[in-house]
């Protein structure tokens, strides 16, 4: 543990104390949730979760009830069906757009970019009513189908994606793109062979964020997918609550069940993220 890091620098004792402390601090809410999800409703209501070790009140009943709900399996699949295209689509479009904003010259480029940044400020909630009009029976009539949510998540995710990817791409050495141009590469080739691989850390980072956002989204899924057969897991969990909040103890267990898939995605992309950072570089 002590001594030097791989690159030869000395380890700081302050960091060695502070980092584990912060890590523990950051884990406390999740730990509390985990313990609470394993306790009965009365135990959770009367004693703090940290007293569970000696106060007792443990149960697997919450998990059994949630997993016993016949709609859970289907809604997990629905969540994946929603989240994967809703992550891939905005990134694909945004990467093209970011490339254009970084390396192409065209009229109105700055105005367009400012407009895109400006729409990031629009709160998603105020757009719901007009979007419901557009996608609902008065407009396209696709409300309740997956394509409606894909479109919405793509639309709402794009501004931030374009902004982050453009900012990242502008830090890439322009000499790489220029030499590609001299070698006769088209824009398409430059994008796929050079810029996209070099931007993979930014893309992976944004993909993680977008996936988590879509996975945990309640409002869009609820309003545009409804509660029918296309229900996502988050909406299903919400539907377990009664009028006065009966069944709230199931939500803690449900939260952990719904967490499994995003965790896999996160750890999967994290490897990619680190590899990406060490990969893209300029050589001779």
């Amino acid at each position: 543990m002590t001594g030097r890091m791989q690159d030869g620098r000395k380890r700081s004792p302050a960091a060695m104390i502070a980092m584990p402390l912060l890590a523990v601090l950051w884990t406390i809410p999740t730990l509390g949730l985990l313990v609470t999800s394993l306790r009965t409703r009365e135990a959770a209501a009367t004693t703090g979760w940290w007293t569970a070790l000696w106060e007792g009140g443990w149960t697997l009943g919450n998990y059994a009830t949630v997993l016993g709900d016949p709609s859970i399996g289907g809604s997990l699949v629905n969540s994946i069906v929603v989240a994967v295209p809703a992550t891939v689509l905005p990134i694909m479009f945004a990467a093209f757009a970011a490339y254009a904003f970084t390396f192409l010259r065209f009229r109105g480029k700055d105005v367009l970019f400012i407009m895109i940044v400006a729409v990031m400020v629009v709160p998603i909630q105020v757009a719901f009513q007009p979007m419901l009009d557009l996608l609902g029976p008065r407009g396209l009539g696709i409300n309740g189908q997956f394509v409606a949510v894909w479109m919405l998540h793509t639309g709402f995710g794009m501004p931030l994606a374009i902004y982050t990817l453009r900012n990242y791409m502008s830090t890439l050495p322009s000499s790489v793109v220029e030499s590609a141009k001299i070698d006769g590469a088209s824009h398409f080739q430059t994008f796929w062979r050079l810029v996209a691989p070099m931007s993979s850390p930014a893309i992976a980072a944004f993909a993680t964020l977008q996936f988590l956002w879509v996975w945990n989204d309640l409002l869009i899924a609820k309003l545009f997918l409804g509660g029918g057969e296309n229900t996502t897991i988050i909406v299903s969990l919400q539907q377990m609550l009664g009028t006065q909040g009966q069944g709230a103890e199931l939500l803690t267990a449900g939260a952990f069940i719904s967490m499994v898939v995003p965790m896999l995605v996160f750890f999967g992309l994290q490897r990619f993220l680190v590899r990406g950072m060490t990969a893209g570089s300029v050589k001779g």
Binding site: T46, G136, P137, G139, G227, Q238, T243, G247
Partner: protein, 448 residues
């Protein structure tokens, strides 16, 4: 799509198509979507054939949803109608958004009439006199219930579930062992009981108001209960409908009376801090500690669902209940404060009318009653269908009431009944503001 689409269809979808820059196969939107409210004359079966499917949106999920669906199963079997129920905890907002976009469900179950009135004002809800037998319905319902769904003279929703709030719960074993009376005729007699409980070293009351952003609603119920008892239903209606100002002397008087009870030294377990920090669902837990920390909880019938499991399993022997009594020198009759889910119809056709007919009848709910946690709004509902004696007793209390009044805060404008009234109660309980200050502020903020 045809090669030359009809002009109207082109116009109606042109804007949408242009906005998205998409062309190709677009489904023709239903031109009649959500406009059933325009009908004014009597609906006769056969006018519009149904589609075989009826969509219902409501607030409750979980066990309540199971009970609701179980109650409909036999009906679906008999009629061949498929009912798709969707639960949404955020129902009040969702229904406004979906109805506003022409995507309303066929039937919505409103937990408060306020949101239904908003949509009725826009002509989206079909009044029940169009398709139900109003007089027949009124004759079996608890008197006064339909008035809560009345907007500008017409009734827009049919009750399908009742909540009875004027109930006082006690832990039967401990309470009867100590020999406290279970039939106080007046609040004054009840106060004598609570004095004895306090003298025995137990907190008479346990109460909880915490409910995240809705904290304070339990407090509004206290004020409403006392308004009904001290000043009677006439003044109560005037107050709820804002025919007297919110800061009228009668209201201030009631605040002071409730304050005597809730803020009185040693009267409520843990004092006012505990009231603010305890969810209403956890207030009864103090009754079942050994020995009990508190004896009485005033709360609606739905609170039984939050009792500890071993208590719920043996409800009739563990829990006792009586109606919150009258106020000596106030209104003479026994008033009951309650609430209820109102089923409102958005789209008229044979199937939706058949479902509404069943939902609003006293035949609905047998299975739900058996599962527990549900009360029929009908006096004529078969009491034997309830799963336990306690619920039967509550049903009898409710149907035996001289006066039934709907929860006033649910009838007030949302900015008051779901806003300033709640926060005002919290500020008043914590002594940040006096009753006069709180009532003045609510009055000043009452929307025109």
């Amino acid at each position: 799509m045809e090669r030359r689409p009809r002009r109207r269809a082109v116009l109606s979808t042109a804007a949408a198509t242009a906005a998205l820059g998409m062309t190709g196969c677009l489904q023709n939107p239903d031109p009649d979507g959500g406009t059933g409210g325009a009908a004014t004359e009597r609906y006769t079966p056969g006018d519009t054939p149904g589609t075989g499917t009826v969509t219902i949106l409501g607030q409750f999920g979980g066990q309540e949803q199971e009970g609701f669906e179980a109650s409909l199963a036999a009906f679906e079997e008999d009629t061949g109608i498929t009912i798709q129920y969707t639960a949404d905890t955020d129902f009040p907002n969702t229904i406004q958004q979906r109805a506003g976009a022409g995507d309303a469900p066929d039937i919505a179950l409103f937990p408060q009439p306020g949101g239904m009135f908003d949509l009725a004002a826009k002509g989206m809800v079909v009044p029940i006199d169009v398709y139900l037998d109003y007089d027949q319905l009124a004759s079996t319902l608890i008197p006064g219930f339909l008035d809560s769904a009345r907007y500008q003279g017409r009734v827009y929703g049919a009750p399908m579930r009742m909540a009875c709030k004027s109930l006082i719960w006690y832990p039967r074993r401990a309470y009867e062992e100590a020999g406290y009376a279970t039939d106080p005729a007046t609040m004054q007699e009840l106060y004598e009981i609570t004095d004895r409980i306090r003298a025995d070293g137990i907190a008479p009351w346990s109460d909880g108001w915490a409910a995240d952003q809705a904290t304070g609603w339990v407090g509004t119920d206290w004020i409403e209960e006392f308004m009904l008892r001290v000043h009677g239903p006439v003044v109560y209606d005037d107050w709820v409908k804002h025919r007297i100002p919110f800061n009228a002397p009668e209201v201030i008087e009631v605040f002071d009376l409730v304050g005597d009870l809730l803020k009185g030294e040693g009267n409520v377990l843990g004092g006012t801090t505990s009231i603010i920090n305890t969810p209403f669902s956890e207030a009864p837990l103090a009754q079942f500690t050994d020995p009990p920390q508190a004896m009485l909880v005033r709360q609606g019938n739905f609170v039984t669902g939050f009792y500890p499991e071993d208590i719920q399993a043996n409800m009739d022997e563990e829990i006792g209940v009586y109606a919150m009594p009258t106020w000596e020198g106030g209104f003479d009759g026994q008033p009951i404060l309650g609430g209820g889910d109102l089923a409102a119809l958005f789209r008229l056709n044979d199937d939706t009318v058949a479902v509404m007919d069943f939902l609003s009848s006293d035949a609905f709910g047998g299975e739900w009653a058996g599962a527990g946690g549900w009360l029929s709004p009908h006096r004529t509902f078969d009491l034997t269908r309830y799963s336990d004696e306690i619920t039967r007793q509550v049903a009898e209390i409710a149907s035996g009431a001289q006066v039934f009044r709907y929860d006033g805060s649910d009838l007030m404008p949302t900015s008051v009944g779901g806003g300033s009234f709640w926060t005002g109660m919290v500020q008043w309980l914590q002594d940040e503001k006096t009753a006069q200050q709180v009532c003045d502020e609510i009055e000043a903020g009452w929307p025109e």
